[in-house]
């Protein structure tokens, strides 16, 4: 039985023609870490808020533990949520913040101390219990919010961009901590983010959304290597997948698969590239250029290389993509289609 399931879930906000969320069907797997990934305005937060019970669906059903919960208030859904702002209660100490869900759910008072201390220890904030939220750093606040969520052992965790308020350095360590936390408690988790790195790194599966529509649901490897359509192909990856229209098709290939012909073996698609920009990023180089001649002539493409030795600005070189790394999309639907032979000459 799926912990969270949605059936044709739709949300249309008043005065807006297109729905914020349209016919979303999904099922979480027991204990998995599911990521909702999409640009801002893609409906991922609305979807999460509907699951939490903070937003009423326009149509469709939400099931938690096999039970339709559409008409249940958030408190009856056995969920816990961590907000983007953490939404800690500013006038309460860390202890009282964590104890609040217990108090609200009328857990016996004798049990509070034990449970709060358990949650605090789990997140390493045992020393902060007497502090007020304003005396905490961003990372500490996030941990308090997580402790407050875990304390009553919910069936599902809903996390709404919990790392976006942290600075870049802290974000990486907080991400790792969150992963370890999830492995330890094993609670089914839904995580909303617009950051593809977070999605790839943390997700067991990733749900890619845009304009309220699900584009793909799959493991990080599936959505990256086998994108279902051009949106997924270009949203994931930095720089994104190179796309080029060829007759009735769109041909795509990742920048890391576009390399100087000399280093490409086997069957490959090759063309001449005029190098226009070279960026050194430490571990890798990003080379961008324009295709010279052939059917892709004038198309701007990116290449990700471990070394840009031998390449010079404004030089023209032979580049190639292994045939098996080419992805094909239908020109009109932009959906993925079976591979076929194309000629770029």
């Amino acid at each position: 039985m799926a912990v969270v399931e949605t059936r044709d879930l739709t949300k249309v906000f008043k005065g807006e023609g297109l729905g914020a969320v349209n016919n979303v069907n999904l099922e979480t797997r027991e204990g998995e870490f599911l990521v909702f990934l999409g640009p801002s305005g893609s409906g991922k937060t609305t979807l999460l808020r509907m699951i939490a019970g903070l937003e009423a669906p326009t149509s469709g059903d939400i099931l938690i533990g096999g039970r339709v919960v559409n008409d249940l208030s958030p408190r009856e859904r056995r969920i816990a949520m961590v907000f983007q702002s953490y939404a800690l209660y500013p006038h309460l100490s860390v202890y009282k913040n964590i104890a609040f869900p217990l108090k609200a759910q009328k857990v016996k008072k004798e049990l509070h101390k034990e449970k709060v201390e358990w949650a605090a220890a789990l997140l390493g904030i045992g020393a902060l219990l007497e502090r007020k939220p304003r005396e905490l750093s961003g990372g500490e606040r996030q941990r308090v919010a997580l402790a407050r969520a875990i304390v009553r052992e919910p069936a599902v965790f809903l996390l709404d961009e919990p790392l976006s308020n942290l600075d870049a350095k802290l974000r990486a360590s907080a991400r790792e901590e969150l992963e370890r936390f999830h492995r330890r408690v094993g609670t089914t988790t839904i995580y909303v983010t617009h950051d593809q790195v977070e999605a790839m790194a943390m997700g067991d599966r990733v749900l890619v959304l845009n304009k309220g529509v699900v584009h793909q649901l799959g493991t990080p490897a599936e959505v990256y290597d086998n994108p279902a359509d051009t949106f997924v192909a270009t949203f994931l990856g930095s720089p994104p997948m190179n796309l080029a229209g060829v007759a009735e098709l769109i041909v795509g290939f990742r920048p890391e698969h576009l390399r100087p012909t000399a280093s490409v073996t086997g069957e490959a698609l090759s063309f001449r590239l005029r190098v226009e920009n070279i960026e050194y990023l430490g571990a890798e180089w990003i080379v961008s250029g324009t295709v010279v001649g052939g059917r892709l002539g004038g198309k701007k493409v990116f290449s990700r290389l471990t070394s840009a030795q031998g390449l010079a600005l404004e030089g023209t070189y032979d580049f190639a993509v292994p045939q098996r790394e080419l992805k094909f999309f239908d020109h009109s639907t932009e959906k993925r289609v079976a591979p076929r032979a194309v000629s770029l000459q």
Partner: protein
């Protein structure tokens, strides 16, 4: 550019204040050109006057009672008017009317509503068979009813002001907070009393402190509805000062009574500045 502010304070605040202190230690009367220093004589005679003691007691009943009514009523109104619904704009406008209309007009309206003969309220109660014809109470004619009526009319006037302040305070609380409380399992009452009320405390204290000043120093409602009567039973300090000092020509006594307001107002002003400062810091 400080000059206008200094001039304003000297002419309109410091001048009258010093004049009041000067009068309070003299035997100033209207029409009398010669003043004599009489020491604490005015204060001694005031403290012995029963009317003054009633006025002090009433001032406190009036102030504390109306603030309780105002805060409870405006909290309910603020909750009701916070979320959008059809006609909210119209309701918000209507709610503001008692505050924006001149208080004299409102008070005269209430004087008629509470009139001993023409009272609409009595008429309705008689029609509902709560009272026999001509058996309805004299709203402004019996001491306890009179002070209650004055208190409620004054509250009616302050509620919009307080509601606007509380509404602003509620809107300033991030929506995430009540949502987090809902997810954490708190219902309406728990969210209101354990989360939102404590967070609103600074803004509520601002509303209360303003309300105290507006009430403690105000005599309009008392003066129009009852003129302090019956038998001084609704007299408050400002109205007593006005009755004795201006209408009774005893400027010295009026000034001395007014000065009794000062220590309390100083304390309130201090508290207000502290609250304002704290609100700035956090």
């Amino acid at each position: 550019m400080l000059a206008p502010a200094v001039l304003y304070i000297l002419l309109l605040v410091a001048g009258p204040f010093l004049l009041a202190i000067f009068y309070a230690f003299s035997d100033a009367r209207i029409g009398n050109t010669r003043l004599h220093f009489v020491g604490l004589e005015n204060f001694r005679s005031i403290l012995q006057s029963p009317s003054f003691r009633i006025a002090v007691r009433n001032s406190f009943i009036f102030t504390i009672g109306s603030q309780i009514v105002v805060i409870v009523a405006s909290s309910i109104l603020a909750i009701a008017l916070e979320k959008p619904f059809r006609g909210r704009g119209v309701l918000r406008f209507l709610m503001l009317l008692p505050w924006v209309a001149p208080i004299a007009l409102g008070a005269i309206g209430w004087k008629w509503l509470l009139d001993s003969i023409y009272s609409v309220i009595s008429w309705v109660l008689v029609a509902l068979h709560v009272y026999k014809p001509f058996g309805a109470p004299m709203w402004l004619g019996e001491p306890h009813l009179a002070i209650t009526s004055v208190l409620l009319v004054h509250s009616w006037r302050l509620i919009p002001f307080s509601t606007v302040i509380l509404l602003a305070g509620r809107t300033a609380i991030p929506k995430d907070i009540p949502e987090a409380a809902a997810v954490d399992g708190a219902g309406f009452w728990r969210t209101e009393f354990l989360i939102l009320l404590p967070m609103m405390m600074p803004i509520i204290s601002v509303a209360v402190l303003f309300g105290i000043i507006f009430t403690f120093t105000d005599m309009t409602v008392v003066y129009i509805l009852t003129a302090g009567g019956p038998f001084d039973s609704t007299q408050v300090l400002p109205s007593l000062a006005f009755t004795l000092g201006i209408q009774g020509s005893d400027l010295a006594a009026g000034a001395a009574i007014s000065l009794f307001l000062v220590p309390l107002l100083v304390i309130i002003a201090y508290l207000m500045l502290r609250v304002a400062h704290r609100a700035e810091v956090t």
